[in-house]
Symmetry: C2
Subunit: 394 residues, 2 copies
């Protein structure tokens, strides 16, 4: 007995991502959940339990450190709302725990919501600044996220003969996809000239290699797969969902196999999710994917770690258009973190909602033909954590 | 199909609670998990997943906001470690999510660990101080935890004719029990004179009405009930575990039924846990309990909200010795939060470990005769959240 195939998604909601100064964290959650419930065509009273993925409600949002601020605006009392936090994989972790609870048989209809308020805190109050100020062992050495992923790009270039053209191709692709997504933070194309002229953030990564800082929320409604047809006429099925914690931290002290060109966390999470889903050839079986493009180089490495491209071949997928809409395996058709932004707790739930839309054939101008099975992926916590969800049509 | 009865506890570990300046958060987790694994007589390699209850790893412990710091010292890579946060109910929430995952059939052997490092942060950096500084809507009005529970005591006295003698009885009982517990922060009896002469914190609550600020960690190992006998010869069974989120905040704006003498969150969590466990007469069926005595008045109100005593009768249970070791229904035989302290994420797991010990007949001088079924309870988040776990002998 396993989770794979036992849980269905019957509704999803994603709010407009961006600088949502007009909305509190609670406002965003209210909107996302309301959209998801309307999509599922169920009343909030049907919900029996909920999971909230929110990375830093206190630091960014001035909210409490629990799930109460999901219940308060929606009057969900007294159902349980569990708050989970797992660095940048927080969103899929919320869905995973919700799916395990549904699979246990304890609850029939549950909610998973991800949200993060990031724009209202000035730079000095930001997560990274606080971590550096407090002497975080990694960040205090100047190894911020762009700095660490710059090392990945540099090493990848050296190992596999790639160069900035591959990164530019990812940036242009994801900005193109974002231009088709009315929920994305940025909805505009960029040119190669803009990419090349942009200021460097951490050599070789420039402004258009980095995802922005964004407010956002997303929600999905889950039920048992054997109940889905009684509740709705359109649903997708969670074939597998896994989360892996490994040694990260960009050095070989914790993990002798650390290579700078591959993340064990993603490999392990994908392996576990594919096992649950019965997938043996992901490159052939997965038809659409949302993967963690916090930086352009990350997306290229993810192609390989997810078993979609051979090691060292990911950058050619970028330059040859394999993963662009119309290509063989479109990736980040939403625009990815690059265009949507990365409100930490929200991202994984938003990705699952986007894949769900693809499977239901309702992705609009982002629609991929014959999208029968899709994947969502997060990487986080200095390369230490990753989550992968595999969804399919019923 | 439901969670109740499907999950067993096969090992537990609790570290010495106190001012553990010699231990980091990671050190405490390492020790608690090592004790629990040794007790379960299994290798760490048998663990397939883990849940961490930790309320504020960044604020108090300078650790990351995920479960990675469980994996790092124990080399648990690559299994998933989910971090949950639920105010003062964080510990039982970790066990609840672990139990749901086991009940789903996805994992056979999992870990739930609770930990909190609270003594190393000076008062101005404490959780309450930060919340007040940042304008928390409740705390900024001076309604700190002692201030809020003082209102409960005052109202309870007026409604039911109790007085400070009932609070003194709870303080003396829990300090007596703590004197028998080698893991407690405080292990000494107090006298009525000490109680009366103690400085007031928030009238009518004095120093001995308030639990201390403490470092601690606890862990339990869970498996499916039908696998327990293959792994060990001593285990207990989780008959029910529930978590409720309600309106709290000490006013009638959010909850018109707010009374100051009862917490809906506890009533709802108990109702759900008893339903899972098939309990219809808790006062008769529950033989030993650990309940949330953050303040002495809280324990009295809990007797009533948990359905053990009639409304208004809880204070007489305190003064007549019903809940003292040797009484009809001993409560907080560990010494409770009053003597153990309340390292937030750890408390619920420690309580479950204590009840487990009672069911296995290994509680030493704290042992309750014929302890066939027991209960652990947390209340938190300005009265808004509560968790209840019911355990029994196999």
């Amino acid at each position: 007995m396993s989770l794979g195939g036992k849980v269905a998604i019957i509704g999803s909601g994603v709010i407009k991502y961006g600088e949502n100064f007009h909305q509190s964290l609670t406002d965003m959650i209210y909107e996302a959940v309301t959209l998801a419930l309307a999509d599922a065509k169920i009343e909030r009273g049907r919900l029996e339990a909920a999971w909230l993925g929110c990375y830093e409600p206190m630091l960014y949002g001035f909210e409490g450190n629990s799930g109460t601020f999901v219940s308060d605006p929606l009057n969900l009392f007294p159902i349980p709302v569990t708050r989970v936090a797992a660095y940048c994989a927080t969103g899929i972790e919320a869905v995973r725990n919700a799916a395990l609870a549904v699979a246990s048989g304890e609850y029939d209809v549950v909610l998973a919501v991800g949200a993060e308020k990031m724009r209202e805190v000035p730079s000095r109050g930001s997560l990274v600044a606080q971590a550096v100020n407090r002497g975080h062992p990694v960040l205090a050495k100047g190894r911020t996220a762009p700095g660490m992923f710059a090392l990945v790009a540099t090493r990848y270039f050296k190992e596999y003969g790639a160069d900035e053209e591959a990164l530019c191709a990812i940036a242009m692709k994801n900005h193109h996809h974002g231009s088709l997504n009315p929920k994305a933070h940025f909805q505009k194309e960029i040119t190669p000239e803009q990419y090349r002229k942009a200021p460097k953030v951490a050599e070789p990564l420039g402004l258009f290699d980095c995802c922005p800082t964004t407010d956002g929320a997303a929600a999905v409604v889950l039920t048992r797969a054997d109940l889905a047809s009684k509740l709705t006429d359109r649903w997708s099925v969670i074939r597998g969902v896994a989360y892996a914690v490994t040694a990260g931290y960009w050095n070989t002290q914790f993990d002798p196999s650390w290579s700078f060109t591959s993340f064990r966390a993603t490999r392990e999470a994908a392996k576990a999710a594919y096992r649950m889903a019965g997938i043996t050839n992901p490159a052939k079986e997965i038809k659409v994917a949302e993967c963690h493009d916090c930086f352009t180089i990350t997306e290229i490495v993810n192609y390989e770690d997810l078993g979609l491209a051979e090691p060292g071949a990911g950058w050619r997928w970028a330059t040859s258009g394999v993963t662009r809409l119309g290509g063989d395996l479109p990736v980040n058709t939403s625009g990815g973190l690059k265009s949507c932004g990365h409100p930490i707790g929200s991202s994984g739930v938003r990705m699952i909602a986007n894949v769900h839309d693809q499977l239901l054939g309702r992705a609009g101008r982002m629609q991929v033909k014959d999208a029968t099975m899709g994947l969502a992926h997060n990487l986080g916590g200095p390369g230490a954590v990753s989550a992968v969800a595999v969804l399919s049509q019923p």
